[in-house]
């Protein structure tokens, strides 16, 4: 696939000596939903801000849709829409005016039909004459999206789109993002909610302390790093783990009724068959069993902490 954004060796250091981003290299594919995942202060917003022209990079370059963001900033920025993390709006402006302002600012002639279309799409049409200060947080977030889409960008950045948003609205937001993608918009979102990345992204980049730690297809990432667990519920409790089972990666629950076996699902031999035989030989009968794949959250925690140690 052709990349729509090419980030080449982008770094950011401040005069105070703080390095927000070490040299970042990343290619975003046209039409994908890319999630940039990382804890607070990891450098997600800094990276987005550089691409959008709000922050100057100390080193490296970014090409957006074939245009250098510094040299050909007009063409590059015309392609980009940004929904920032903070709900920064002009409180006294109406929804309609603030969205029309954004379209004009990005150099597009007025197009009331198009604005009506996006306001309807975002369920904002009824509120078009309301002042921003009269809107709920969720509605404001939708207006921010409408502003970002007002100039018909092909790339949309969503910085923590569902931070502080209730569950229902979060689901709505995901739906909106999917629709946008269907309309051909490339979406880059930052989040520290694993659930969000897991739910929406095609690919995931994990960023921590200004370093891009990995970039993977979501499914591959989960497969690659996914540890599986097999929970074995015992017919009768064990007092301790028999010595014959010491070779397995097993833990016994406190009440002795459950054994948990952790294994790598992608190894040729998971050891499950052997474990079952050993249990049978020891006369340990099973009531039930259940296997569980580790979530992205667990993967993420192990990555971030693995690096820290």
């Amino acid at each position: 696939m052709q990349s729509i954004i090419s980030i080449q060796g982008v770094g950011k250091s401040y005069a105070s000596g703080f390095t927000a981003l070490k040299s970042i290299d990343l290619e975003i594919q046209r039409g994908e939903i890319f999630a940039l995942l990382g804890p607070n202060g990891a450098g997600k917003t800094t990276l987005i801000s550089i691409i959008c022209g709000i922050v100057n990079a100390t080193s490296g370059k970014v090409i957006a849709d074939g245009f250098d963001i510094a040299r050909d900033y007009r063409q590059a920025r015309s392609q980009i829409g940004l929904v920032p993390q903070e709900l920064t709006t002009d409180s006294f402006e109406t929804v309609w005016h603030t969205v029309a302002f954004s379209r004009g600012l990005f150099g597009k002639p007025a197009n009331p039909e198009y604005l009506e279309k996006i306001l309807r799409q975002l369920s904002l049409w009824e509120k078009r004459n309301a002042k921003m200060l009269e809107l709920s947080g969720g509605m404001k977030r939708r207006v921010m999206i409408a502003k970002a889409l007002s100039h018909e960008p092909s790339i949309l950045f969503l910085d923590e789109p569902t931070a502080g948003v209730d569950v229902e609205l979060r689901r709505d937001m995901w739906e909106i993002v999917r629709e946008l993608r269907e309309n051909g918009v490339t979406i880059i979102l930052t989040t520290h909610y694993i659930e969000e990345a897991e739910e929406m992204a095609d690919r995931i980049g994990v960023i921590n302390r200004g370093e891009l730690m990995l970039v993977e297809q979501k499914t591959e990432l989960m497969q690659k790093l996914g540890q599986k667990q097999l929970n074995l519920y015992l017919q009768s409790p064990l007092e301790s783990l028999p010595a014959e089972l010491a070779q397995y990666n097993l833990t016994l629950s406190e009440d002795g009724t459950q054994l948990t076996y952790t294994f790598d699902a992608h190894q040729d031999t998971t050891g499950i068959a052997q474990l079952m035989r050993s249990l049978s030989q020891l006369g340990i009968d099973l009531k039930d069993l259940q296997s569980k794949q580790s979530s992205l959250e667990e993967i993420f925690v192990s990555l971030v902490h693995g690096k820290d140690v």
Binding site: R74, T88, F101, G104, L105
Partner: protein, 253 residues
């Protein structure tokens, strides 16, 4: 050239003016009217002419300049400071607009507003005092040039200020005293030495003097010098704005 972008900023700023009509237009007109009543009509009627011009008429250019300077600075500084303060500046910074276009939008709107106020003050002055304008084209030229220059100066202050106090400090602590001491209410020839010479270091003297010449053909300093000083100040402001955008000072880190 992103003309739609410039217009978007300009219209946004002008609609802010419409929303705050009382504060932004009526209040400066009212306060200047008070000056006309007190100094022009009440006290002025007991004072003799200055250079053949009645005192009430003599102070019109100075008062107009006082309003023009303070309004230009406060409009433009607030116009750019507030988006910085509220965070909405992100949109302007991420838009395909050049520094020149940003300045044109904000400064153009602030200067327009100052010119509207100037015109209203002139119309109001007519109610209290009889005056003439000898050189209307020059008067308009000085008016536009000063409004533009000081709106740009205000833009710089708005970029520099990182709190509300800093926003106020230059207009209140620097511009107002300089205007009062710059011959708004008197001819500098009325000052004893060394004050007369010292006053020449006050840039506002040149603005008021040139402006008064456009009204009555009388001036404290040569009108060419006045014009030169106004252009010099405009050039300084342009240089500062150019440097701000080149370095990203206080806007793009």
């Amino acid at each position: 050239m992103n003309l739609n972008g410039v217009l978007a900023i300009y219209k946004f700023e002008m609609s802010r003016t419409r929303r705050t009509l009382m504060q932004s237009i009526l209040s400066p007109v009212l306060s200047t009217s008070l000056y006309f009543i007190v100094f022009g009509t009440a006290i002025g009627s007991r004072m003799g002419n200055i250079d053949g011009v009645s005192y009430g008429a003599f102070i019109i250019p100075g008062l107009l300049m006082l309003s023009l300077l303070s309004e230009s600075i406060s409009n433009a500084s607030f116009g750019i400071f507030f988006p910085k303060f509220s965070g909405t500046i992100y949109e302007v910074l991420s838009a395909p607009v050049s520094p020149f276009e940003i300045v044109a939008g904000y400064v153009g709107a602030a200067a327009t507003k100052s010119l509207i106020i100037g015109a209203l003050i002139l119309a109001t002055a007519r109610v209290f005092v009889d005056y003439q304008i000898d050189h209307p084209v020059w008067m308009l030229g000085f008016l536009i040039l000063t409004a533009l220059t000081f709106s740009m100066f205000g833009f710089i202050i708005g970029i520099w200020a990182d709190d509300f106090q800093k926003l106020q400090v230059i207009p209140l602590m620097v511009i107002t005293p300089l205007t009062f001491l710059g011959g708004a209410f008197y001819s500098i020839n009325m000052l004893p030495e060394p004050w007369q010479t010292l006053t020449l270091f006050n840039p506002v003297v040149y603005l008021i003097s040139g402006f008064r010449w456009a009204f009555y053909g009388i001036s404290d300093v040569n009108v060419a010098v006045s014009l030169g000083m106004t252009f010099l100040f405009l050039l300084l402001c342009l240089t500062a704005v150019w440097w701000i955008f080149r370095t990203g000072y206080r806007i793009r880190h």
